[in-house]
Symmetry: C2
Subunit: 181 residues, 2 copies
């Protein structure tokens, strides 16, 4: 049980640093010191490990979103991502990167990515509703786009992308309130 989590954690780091397909199982396992035997006992295959890494990542990220700051539920999204970023090598959204490399060959990975993005966008919608007093799917998607854009450019431009996106989200929210008071 402990090794299983260690392998996942090591693989997460390895995939962040080297990409999903640019690294072999030996190198992945070197991060946790586990043997190949243990990997295949727990995950069945390399692709199975990728799936579990994404699921683990999803749960960890969603746990961070559990608490909602009632004063600024939308802006808080970008602060959370900022904190997350400080603890990880950043190379864009791990789910979208996995999607790009596995969509053509592994349906389960694709499904995990879709699930994650859908749940995340649902969470954004929930926060928009709290901030506005009523649902607003358009604004929610706008904020989703800002979030994804900031995450995508994070590794090239640094944390300023998140600050800029947070400002833009606030501006768009204010524009909504003015036109629909």
């Amino acid at each position: 049980m402990k090794k299983q989590q260690a392998i996942i954690g090591g693989a997460e780091r390895a995939f962040e640093a080297e990409g999903f397909r640019g690294i072999g199982v030996d190198k992945i396992l070197a991060q946790s010191g586990a043997s190949t035997r243990t990997l295949y006992k727990h995950f069945g295959s390399r692709d199975g490990l990728v799936v579990e890494v994404l699921k683990h990542r999803h749960l960890a990220f969603m746990a961070l979103l559990r608490e909602t700051d009632p004063s600024d539920p939308v802006g808080q999204l970008f602060d959370i991502q900022r904190r997350w970023t400080d603890d990880h090598i950043n190379s864009g959204c791990m789910f979208l990167r996995a999607h790009g490399e596995y969509a053509a060959v592994n349906a389960e990975i694709t499904a995990v990515v879709h699930d994650h993005k859908q749940q995340f966008e649902t969470e954004i919608g929930r926060r928009v509703e709290i901030a506005l007093g009523s649902p607003d799917a358009d604004l929610a998607m706008q904020i989703s786009l800002l979030f994804e854009g900031a995450t995508a450019l994070l590794s090239l431009r640094g944390p300023i992308t998140l600050e800029t996106a947070k400002e833009a989200a606030a501006l768009l929210g204010r524009a909504r309130l003015e036109h629909r008071p």
Copy 2:
């Protein structure tokens, strides 16, 4: 000369569909009917081909941006991307995907990605200046984030991401004009 372009075009399609590292040279070449000999004569290595595909993509994209619609230079960005999307399998920005898979092992690929993004953001800044009458780096980055976000989510959500991003960009531009008339 003709085969060289054919190989690049085929590789571009292959990378879009299967990811950068999820496909071997044989499959890449099957798209253009060329032999491995020809590939290595022209590009030296598989990585060399990746570099040339990205450079070709960069030039093609920048060529589309050459003409600027003077009535709506910023909104036109999203229309151009929309048209581009219709002709290609979309799986997120090809440059950022390449960056994710090669950043750790190939400096030349990383450099090409940086160059592309910098030139693209310069172009956005140019268009913002036309629209506003004066430069505005903040607004330019906001629009850049919307563009990247829309591109990243395109394969999951479809072209509506580009329409939403275009609307948001227009809103943010208007907000700027009101607060700095």
